[in-house]
């Protein structure tokens, strides 16, 4: 189990784990990177302070892939978690095993949502700006969100209620008056199943989606199949934005102030280059190079600015859908388990995030449950969780 144990004895009964993107002061935070091996933050994430005040105790940290942009954590510096030839996620395992009742994670590129779907857990990625990112390792700041994972919607909701709220220390944190909108929960009655978002999924995933859809219908929710060619474009635009922001955010790791420093260098450029080359993994390096190129003078308007405009097109497309529907239903991944062999494609997470990118690029809330994903209007996370809770009740 890839959990780093906390130093202090945890006696409370609300045991949680946090992933290695969330800064802790009593345990190292590595972002899954050799660059930050053993790095201990001087301050803790706002979400941990809030969870701690509400009686949650952190039993340890779960490993993540390097800067959390991979599939389910397989690029972590301490190696992939593989069982029976299947890629596993440390966070999901910690919840499944019952070691922790909840996990707090940073959803950068959907890896949390993928592993939650594959393990039949529940997760909520709340509306962007409702939960403070103070004390999280920055990667793709315009879309990444602190998320909660648990076995049930109710457990997710309880922890989310505690950690959500305005934070002066996060300049993108919404005012309380805005965040209060999450309590104006209107029940979800009509859902659009986006057929264009189901392409590429295997039979099992498709079956899970159908089963969930049927369950919702049985609860009296109307599920309508809807074609839409804009939402699926999210992935391509998100990959550009995420990589560019990542390139900029990880440029701070240079072997000077803290973290990994190469042994051999004769000048400052060698110190930088050797430290970064030795400490960063291949997926990260590719993401950096790609992100950098999207921001070059030559490409900025053509690539980066274009992606920013397409982001608005996508946001407006969601708004159009939400005029008729309370939420959209999509898969969260293409298969219900990743065989080790998928890693043959080093860049598979740049494709597999097809399913998670729409909520990432728009900042809309997404709840993953029963192997599928619901994306709602801004501030509708509680409504989505209520619906899932209702499903859970019916299932019993």
């Amino acid at each position: 189990m890839k959990i780093y144990n906390a130093k202090k004895e945890i006696t409370c009964d609300r045991k949680i784990v946090v992933d290695d993107m969330i800064l802790t002061t009593d345990m190292p935070t590595t972002a899954g990177s050799k660059m930050l091996d053993g790095y201990v933050s001087l301050f803790e994430a706002e979400v941990l302070t809030r969870a701690g005040n509400a009686g949650y105790g952190v039993i340890g940290k779960t490993s993540v892939g390097e800067f959390a942009i991979d599939l389910v954590g397989e690029t972590a510096q301490d190696g992939a978690l593989i069982e029976d030839g299947i890629l596993k996620s440390a966070t999901a395992e910690a919840i499944k095993s019952g070691d922790a009742i909840c996990a707090i994670t940073l959803d950068v590129n959907g890896s949390v949502r993928r592993s939650v779907a594959q393990n039949s857990l529940v997760s909520v990625k709340p509306t962007y700006g409702t939960v403070s990112r103070y004390g999280t390792i920055p990667v793709a700041c315009s879309g990444e969100t602190v998320s909660v994972v648990a076995k049930t919607a109710t457990a997710c909701r309880e922890l989310l209620d505690v950690i959500a709220g305005h934070d002066d220390k996060d300049g993108t944190s919404l005012p309380e008056t805005e965040i209060a909108k999450v309590s104006e929960t209107k029940p979800v009655r009509r859902i659009a199943l986006l057929t264009d978002m189901t392409k590429g999924v295997d039979e099992e995933t498709s079956a899970r989606l159908d089963a969930f859809s049927k369950k919702l219908t049985a609860l009296g929710v109307e599920v309508v199949s809807v074609e839409n060619s804009i939402i699926p474009v999210s992935r391509v635009a998100w990959n550009i934005l995420m990589s560019a922001e990542l390139c900029n955010n990880v440029s701070r790791y240079d072997g000077v102030k803290y973290g990994y420093r190469a042994q051999n260098f004769t000048n400052i450029d060698e110190l930088y280059t050797n430290s970064r080359t030795e400490a960063f993994g291949e997926l990260l390096k590719t993401a950096i190079i790609f992100g950098s190129e999207t921001l070059s003078t030559e490409n900025y308007m053509k690539v980066y600015d274009k992606a920013l405009r397409v982001r608005r097109v996508i946001v407006e497309e969601f708004a159009r859908l939400f005029a008729d529907y309370d939420a959209v239903l999509t898969p969260a991944c293409s298969m219900m388990a990743y065989p080790e062999s998928v890693r043959a494609d080093k860049y598979i997470s740049y494709k597999e995030n097809f399913y998670t990118a729409p909520a990432s690029i728009t900042g809309l809330p997404a709840v993953v449950a029963e192997g599928a994903q619901l994306i709602g209007k801004a501030f509708s996370e509680n409504a989505l969780l209520d619906l899932v809770a209702l499903c859970e009740k019916e299932g019993k």
Binding site: L42, Y134, T136, T172, C247, S251, R252, D254, T297, Y300
Partner: protein, 480 residues
């Protein structure tokens, strides 16, 4: 052929705020211990998020208005990426797409008369850290105290054409920004720094020549020398083909009096600007804009003319007072309270100047408020406090700007007594103790009276109306 020099300046000015632009560390790096004013954010550690210091935007707006700019009502921040040890996050947050102010105009005056210098833009940004090269031979030491201290960069159009104009322009910027109280602008402290862009062209030509840039100039004298050197070098190159000019960054060596091409990397200048997702756009609404506009002072020359016309001051006095906005504010406040611009001027130009000198303070550091000074002047003119004691009160006002002069004088026994009984008693004693002076005075020596008067005043600790004392003294001597 005759040539003219074409110069554009990029002037970096450190804003006089308490805290840094995006974190709460102290912004006063001058004289601090290395890395004393540093936090995880400004030493490049992950997890802290930038929150804009409102005063930085206030000052950006004020600077823009002082320099005749249009203010962008929505202004945004962008990231600029490059690797250098003084830049801990390997990016600088600056303004690339929508700077706070654009299209300004600054009027300068030189021996050739008046001239307008156009301002292209003013943007707000964070400063870089400081590198120290002289502690160990093989090592550069890095200090992040200055990292994220707020700056504005004032970018001029290439409207300047001589060292004299550049000096006048820099002086004008300094005066206006100090007047608005947004910056110290002291090149010796590094709170004003300057990049000089220079090219030459034949007089009458519209085509700009090859431009070179000299970065981080930090004294006006060095700038003047560098401009003269570069101009000569450019003309020589164009005229005599001594070298091929290339667009490049050069370093000015003020000791050798030469400029050198700086070694540049292949990737130099590729900054990959993009909008900062962590900093929301700043919208300057009407109320904010108006409050900034209303807080601005008149220009120094406007004040000077008004002081002469409205207050009847001499040109010299008006000139002296308008050297600093702090003196102006003190003067205007004091005049309004005491009703005597002449007294206010005298107090400021003599006593206050003396105390500033004594305490090694610049004019701008004056904190005595005009209202209190006016009250003090009234106490003197109403005969409640003697002039010597008033100076003691003024000194206390330097230590505590909130101090009430009257209350302080009362509490410290500095109020003139109207108790003539006491004065009679003192006069009697002094006269009795010094028959020689009395005799001298009676013999026609006016000076002897002054000696007696002085001793009485000293015994009374100055707390007595000089006119009253004088009368009682003369009357008493006449009787004995």
């Amino acid at each position: 052929m005759k040539y003219e020099t074409v110069i554009g300046l990029e002037v970096h000015v450190e804003l006089a705020t308490n805290s840094k632009i995006f974190c709460s560390c102290s912004a006063h790096s001058y004289g601090a211990q290395p890395n004393e004013h540093v936090c995880p954010a400004c030493c490049g550690m992950p997890g802290m998020l930038p929150v804009v210091n409102k005063r930085v935007v206030d000052y950006g707006i004020k600077a823009g208005l002082m320099l005749g700019c249009d203010i962008n009502r929505t202004t945004t921040f962008d990231k600029k990426s490059y690797y250098y040890p003084d830049l801990p996050a390997a990016y600088q947050t600056t303004q690339w797409f929508a700077p706070v102010a654009v299209n300004g105009l600054v009027e300068i005056e030189t021996s050739k008369g008046k001239k307008g210098i156009r301002i292209k833009q003013i943007h707000m940004e964070e400063d870089a850290g400081k590198l120290v090269h002289d502690i160990r031979e093989d090592t550069t030491h890095v200090d992040f105290n200055r990292t994220s201290v707020p700056l504005i960069e004032i970018v001029s159009q290439p409207d300047l054409s001589s060292a004299e104009e550049v000096e006048a322009y820099l002086e004008r910027l300094k005066t206006l920004l100090r007047y608005a109280r947004v910056a110290e602008c002291e090149m010796a402290h590094g709170t004003m720094r300057c990049d000089v862009n220079l090219s030459v062209r034949p007089v009458g030509s519209n085509k700009l020549g090859v431009r070179t840039e000299m970065k981080n100039m930090n004294s006006i004298e060095a700038i003047k020398r560098a401009i003269e050197y570069e101009t000569a070098r450019h003309i020589d190159a164009v005229e005599n083909g001594t070298e091929v000019l290339v667009q490049e960054t050069r370093r000015w060596d003020d000791i050798k009096g030469k400029s050198y091409a700086m070694r540049t990397k292949e990737t130099a200048g590729d900054y990959r600007y993009f909008p900062d997702p962590n900093v929301m756009p700043v919208v300057i609404d009407e109320a904010w804009f108006e409050s900034m506009k209303n807080s601005l002072p008149e220009f120094p020359e406007v004040k000077r003319a008004r002081y002469m016309q409205e207050y009847g001051l001499s040109e010299y006095d008006a000139e002296q007072l308008t050297k600093s906005i702090a003196l102006c504010e003190c003067f205007e406040g004091a005049s309004a309270v005491c009703g005597s611009p002449k007294d206010a001027t005298n107090w400021i130009l003599s006593e206050i100047m003396n105390l500033l000198n004594l305490r090694q303070m610049t004019y701008d550091m004056l904190t005595v408020n005009g209202k209190s000074l006016g009250e003090l002047i009234l106490l003197v003119s109403n005969g409640k406090v003697g002039r010597a004691n008033a100076k003691k009160v003024l000194s206390a006002m330097f230590d505590n700007p909130e101090l009430s002069p009257e209350k302080y004088a009362e509490e410290n026994g500095l109020i003139i007594s109207n108790d003539t009984g006491l004065i009679d008693k003192v006069v009697k004693e002094i006269v009795a103790s010094d028959p020689k002076s009395v005799a001298d005075y009676k013999g026609g020596k006016e000076k002897a009276l002054m000696a007696l008067f002085g001793r009485c005043m000293k015994t009374l600790k100055g707390n007595c109306d000089p006119q009253v004392l004088r009368k009682i003294l003369i009357d008493y001597i006449a009787k004995v």
